[in-house]
C-alpha cells in the first residue's frame, strides 16, 4: 500500500477548472484521494513545480505488425540510438521506431502515462497485444481497422446498421480493441487491385458502397454501441495536394449526425489532410479553411500530426497513400502489406527537411491548425508518431505552440517559399499551460471517454506528472528552451501511485500498465451460425475459432463494459 502526497505544487487541471493553483495532491494506492495521512505518506515537495495529470496520447503507432515491420527494415535508424541495459531497465534501441521497452521508458520520462495505438488490422491483433504487453509503464488501448472489413462493407451496402453494429461489437470484443478506426474508407479495399478512391462519393469497386456511406454508417454504429470514443478517422486522399476539400466534404457529410452538439468523429493527423493547391508546386496551406469550419462546428475533434523535421518512418494502413509517396521518388525503401479482407498498409522512411518547401510548409500547417482553432478541446497535440516525427519531439511541438519566439526561430531556418506561404507570422497566439494541459491530457482523455484519466480530481487514476516549471517566475513564451527541457524530462512521473520516473530517469520499470479495451454488449449477441462460419472460412485464411484474441494476450486487462442500444 502506497500513499504519496505531492505538496505545494502549481496544479494545472483543466477538467476541474484549476489553473496553476497551489494545492496538494494526495494519492492512495492507484487513485487520487481527498487526503492521506501525512505522517505515513511519502511526501513529494513540489513547491515551484507544475503538477499535471499523466499525459494521454490519443494517436501514436507504438505496436503491431506495421510498426514492427518498420523496426525490422530500419537497422540504420537504430544504430543512431542504442539504449544500454541497466539494473532497472531493459536494453533496446530508439529513434524513429523505438523497441517496446524503450517506448515505455521514454514516454514515462516525458510524463506520459497512457497511449493509444494508431491502428491495427484485426487479423494481426494478437501481435499488437503481444507488443503492448512488452511496453511497460503505460496504459494502452488500440484502435481496430474496421472501415474496410468485408462484413462492414457488405452490411453497409445493404444499409443494415443494426447487424453491422452487432458484428462490429463482436470485432472490437474479439480483438480487444478500444475503438473503431477508419482509414481511407473504401480506399484500402480498392488497393487490393491497385486502385484507390478519390472522393467521398467514389464507389468502392465490387462493393456498391461509397466512403461517405462507410463513414456515416460506422458513426451510426458507433452511436448504437455507445462506444466511449468516437470513430477515429483517417480521411480519404490523405497526403494529396488539394485534399483540404475532401476533409471539408467529410466534415460536412457528418454534420447532421451530431444531435447533441457532441463530437461524432475524430479526424486524426489532420495536418496531412489540410493541403491546398492543385499540385506539389502550387502547394499551399488549407489550415485557415479547416480552422474556420472547426471554429463554427462542434461535431469533430482533431489531432495535429505535427511534422518535426527529423529522419523518421512513415507508416499507415493507407497502402495507396504510401505507394503514391513512393512514386514521388527518392525513396529507397517501400513496404506494402495488404491484409486480406480487412486492410492494407505501407511504410516509407522519410526525412522531413526544413529546406524542402513542402515539408517546411507541412510543419507550418500543423501549427497553424492548432493555433487558429480557438478551442483547445477540439484539437490535440500529436506527431502521429512516427509519421510526423518520433514522440520524443513532443516538447519541441509544445514549445512551438506556447512560444511565438520558438516558432520564429524555426521558421527563420525554413525554406523561403514556405516562409512566404506560412501563416505563422500573422498568428500571435501563445498557448498557456492550461491550454497545453488540455491538448495533451484533459482534452484527449475526454475525447477518448476516459473519466478517470487526464485530471487530478478525487477518484481519478493516480497518474501524475510533475514538471520543473514555476508559472510564477518562468515566462514559458520567452524562455521556451527551459520549459521545453522541463517537458522533456518530468521531475516525477507517477503511474498507478508508483513513482516510475524521477528527473527524467526511470526508477521503476516493473509497472506493466493496463490494456484498456471495450466490450460493447448488444442486446442480441452477434449470431455466429454455421453460415457465418462458412463465410469466415471463405473470407479469411484462418478459421473463425482462431481469429479472436484470447485473454492470454492481455497481460493486465482493463475491460470497459458498455451496454449498447441495439
Amino acid at each position: 500500500m502506497t500513499e504519496i502526497l505531492i505538496k505545494n505544487g502549481f496544479v494545472v487541471d483543466p477538467r476541474n477548472k484549476i489553473n496553476c493553483e497551489k494545492m496538494d495532491i494526495a494519492i492512495k494506492d492507484n487513485k487520487i484521494v481527498q487526503k492521506v495521512n501525512e505522517k505515513q505518506a511519502h511526501i513529494i515537495d513540489a513547491s515551484g513545480l507544475t503538477v499535471m495529470a499523466g499525459g494521454v496520447d490519443i494517436h501514436s503507432h507504438i505496436a503491431g505488425a506495421e510498426v514492427n515491420t518498420g523496426r525490422i527494415i530500419r537497422p540504420e535508424d537504430h544504430y543512431k540510438d542504442p539504449v544500454r541495459k541497466t539494473s532497472i531497465t531493459r536494453a533496446g534501441t530508439g529513434y524513429s521506431i523505438p523497441s517496446t521497452f524503450v517506448t515505455g521508458y521514454r514516454y514515462a520520462e516525458m510524463g506520459y502515462t497512457s497511449v493509444f495505438n494508431g491502428s491495427i488490422a484485426p487479423m494481426k491483433a494478437k501481435h499488437a497485444h503481444e507488443e503492448l504487453n512488452d511496453i511497460p509503464l503505460l496504459d494502452k488501448g488500440t484502435y481496430i481497422l474496421t472501415g474496410d472489413w468485408w462484413f462492414v462493407l457488405e452490411n453497409l451496402a445493404k444499409n443494415d446498421i443494426d447487424e453491422c453494429a452487432r458484428l462490429v461489437s463482436w470485432l472490437i470484443y474479439s480483438t480487444k480493441g478500444y475503438s473503431i478506426k477508419v482509414v481511407n474508407p473504401g480506399g484500402l479495399e480498392s488497393w487490393g487491385f491497385g486502385r484507390n478512391v478519390h472522393s467521398i462519393d467514389d464507389p468502392v469497386p465490387n462493393f456498391c458502397v461509397t466512403p461517405r456511406e462507410i463513414m456515416r454508417g460506422l458513426i451510426k454504429v458507433n452511436k448504437k454501441l455507445n462506444m466511449p470514443h468516437t470513430i477515429h478517422l483517417h480521411t480519404n486522399n490523405l497526403g494529396v495536394p488539394g485534399n483540404y476539400q475532401t476533409t471539408l466534404d467529410t466534415m460536412k457529410a457528418l454534420e447532421d449526425l451530431s444531435t447533441d452538439g457532441k463530437p461524432v468523429a475524430h479526424i486524426t493527423h489532420v495536418q496531412f489532410a489540410c493541403f491546398k493547391g492543385e499540385n506539389w508546386r502550387k502547394f499551399k496551406s488549407g489550415a485557415e479553411d479547416i480552422a474556420k469550419y472547426m471554429n463554427a462546428h462542434t461535431h469533430i475533434t482533431l489531432d495535429m500530426g505535427q511534422v518535426t523535421f527529423s529522419d523518421t518512418t512513415t507508416m499507415t494502413a493507407d497502402g495507396p497513400f504510401e505507394f503514391s509517396l513512393y512514386e514521388l521518388g527518392g525513396h529507397l525503401k517501400w513496404v506494402n502489406s495488404d491484409v486480406e479482407t480487412e486492410s492494407s498498409g505501407g511504410i516509407i522512411p522519410f526525412h522531413y527537411k526544413r529546406n524542402s518547401p513542402v515539408n517546411a510548409l507541412q510543419w507550418s500547417i500543423g501549427l497553424e491548425l492548432a493555433l487558429l482553432i480557438k478551442d483547445p478541446w477540439k484539437i490535440f497535440m500529436t506527431t502521429d508518431h512516427p509519421n510526423g516525427g518520433p514522440f520524443y519531439d513532443y516538447p519541441k511541438v509544445l514549445a512551438w505552440l506556447y512560444s511565438k519566439k520558438a516558432r520564429e526561430a524555426t521558421l527563420k531556418k525554413c525554406h523561403k517559399s514556405a516562409r512566404k506561404k506560412s501563416l505563422l507570422p500573422s498568428i500571435d497566439r501563445e498557448l498557456t499551460l492550461y491550454e497545453i494541459a488540455i491538448m495533451t491530457r484533459a482534452g484527449t482523455a475526454q475525447a477518448l471517454g476516459l473519466p478517470n484519466k487526464g485530471h487530478l480530481g478525487v477518484g481519478a487514476d493516480a497518474d501524475v506528472a510533475v514538471f520543473n516549471i514555476n508559472p510564477e517566475t518562468l515566462d514559458i513564451a520567452q524562455k521556451f528552451r527551459t520549459a521545453r527541457k522541463a517537458f522533456a524530462s518530468a521531475v516525477y512521473t507517477i503511474k498507478d501511485g508508483i513513482i516510475v520516473a524521477k528527473d527524467g530517469q526511470i526508477v521503476n520499470s516493473q509497472v506493466p500498465g493496463r490494456t484498456i479495451w471495450v466490450d460493447a454488449q448488444t442486446k442480441d449477441p452477434c449470431r455466429i451460425d454455421d453460415d457465418m462460419k462458412r463465410k469466415f472460412k471463405e473470407y479469411w485464411t484462418i478459421e473463425y475459432e482462431n481469429y479472436p484474441v484470447t485473454d492470454h494476450y492481455v497481460k493486465v486487462s482493463d475491460k470497459l463494459t458498455i451496454k449498447a442500444s441495439v
Binding site: I73, H127, N206
Partner: protein, 523 residues
Amino acid sequence: MNKTINNVVCPICGCLCDDLEVTVENNEIIKMKNGCAVCEAKMVHGYKSDERILKPLIRKDGKLVPVSMDEAIKKAAQILTDAKYPLLFGWSSTVSEAQRIGVELAEELGSALDNCCSVCHGPSVMATQEIGIPAATLGQIRHRADLIVYWACNPWASHPRHVERYTAFTDGRFEGSEWKNYMQRLRADSGRKKMEMASKRIARVEPPIKPQVCFTGPPPQMLERKSGRKVIVVDVRKTMTAEAADYFLQIEPNRDYEVIEALRCLVLDQELDVDKVGGIPIDTLRDVADAMMSCGFGVIYFGLGMTQSLGRFRNIEIAIALARDLNRKTKFVISPMRGHFNVTGANNVFAWQTGYPFAIDFSQGYPQFNPGENTAVDLLRRGDNDATLIISADPGAHFPSVIMQNMMKHPLITINPDMNAISRLGDVVFPAQWCGIEYSGTAYRMDTVPLTLKKVVEAPPGILTDEELLTRILKEVRAIKVKRGEPVGQGEVKLAHPDKVKAPQACKAPAKPKRAKKGKGAA
C-alpha cells in the same frame, strides 16, 4: 473415450494450416485429418516416438547420463555464466512467449543471439532492409491473384498445402481454383505417358530428353490467352511443383540475378542484346514479362533456392525491385516462403524487443546488429563464442559439418523435445514439451499473421515448456551473477522506498576479446 479437437494449428512449416482435426484417445493422438504427410508424421507418429527425451541428460565421460532437472539447470546456468561470449541460437520452432524470455536471457548474459533465419531467409530480411518489400497476407493471394510465380522454391515438398490452401488451387472471392484444369491436364498427361511407355516397350527406344525449358501447360504463346489463374515456376530443376505449373523455366544454377534483371529490363521496355539469359531464351522471358504485366494481381513466392545461391540477398533485392516496378503497371506483391512455423515470430519478437530481427550481439550491453559478423555461422566459423545454447532447432542436421566442428570445441546446451542430431551431440541435453501439441502459444505465419497453437495432449510428467525452462535458467544465471557481485537485470530489483532508489547502474559489458568491427550494415 476419444475426443476430436477441431481447428488445431499445425506446428511445422510457415503455412500454419489451422484446420486440422485431431482425434485424441487416452492422451494420445490417434488420428489427424486435413493435414499433409509431414503433419501426419509429426502429429500422429513423431511426437511420441522412441526418440523422445524424457529426462535431462548430462554428458559425463563421453556418455549422456540422466540427471535431475535442478542439476541440469544449474549446470547449464554455470556453463552460460562462465562463458565469456555464449551464443544462443535456434528459436524458430518454439512459441513467441519463449522467444521473449530468450532475448532477456541473452541480454543478461551479454551473449550473441541469432535465429534459424540466418541460414534460411536471413538474406530475405537483409534485402527487405535494403529496399523494403511489397507484400500481402496469403488470403489476399487466394482472393485476388491471377498470376502466381514460385521462384526457386518447391512448395510441394516444403510447404505441402501452400498451393491448395492459399494460391492456385483455392477458391477466392474474385479468382477461382485451378484444380479442375490441373486434373484434366494430369489425365491427358498420364495418357501420354502410358503411350510413351508402351512405345518404349515395343520399340525399345528411349524417349528423347526434354529441352531445358519445359512447357508443361499450354505453349508459351497461349499463356496470355489462358483464362483463370496462371502458375509459373522457375527453378534449377524440375520439381513436382513445376509439374503442376502452366509454365516452367529451368534456369542454370546461381543465375537467378541475371534472369530477374533481364525480366526487369523487359518490364521497363528495354532491349536486350543477348539471346539467352541464364539458359533461357529472351523470347521466353518476354512471354513471362508480358504475363506479369498483364495480370490483375500477381505474386512472386521465393524460396531458399534464391537465398542460398550465389548473390544471396542481392537476388532477393532484385526480385523485390522487379515486383516494385510491376506495381507501376498492375498490382504485384512478393513474399518469402518462410520455413519453420515460427521463424517469422522469432524475427518479430527479436525486433520488437531489440529493434533487430536476427544476428544480435549484446556484448556491449545494448543490442547490435551486423549480419555477417553476428550471425551464428560466422561466429562459429571464426570461433568467437565459447559456449552454445541451442533451442528448438537442429543445426546438427542443418549446419555444415565444418561449422559444427567449431561448435563442438566448447560446451553445448540443447533444448529440444526429441533426440535430434544436435541433442545427440549436447553436453547438457534438456527435454522439452512439444509446442502446439503439449502446450499452447503464439506462432507467426509466413505472412506475419499470428495464430495460437493449441494444446491437444498432456506432456509426459516432469518435462517443462521452453518458456518455463528458460525462465528457470535465467533465474539461476541471475543468482550466480548476484553471488559474484555482478549487477543483474530488473528481475531482481526490489524497491524499498521510491525515493531511496539510486540512479540505475549501467551493466558493464563482460570482458570479451575486442573484435575489429567491419563496416556497418549489410550493404
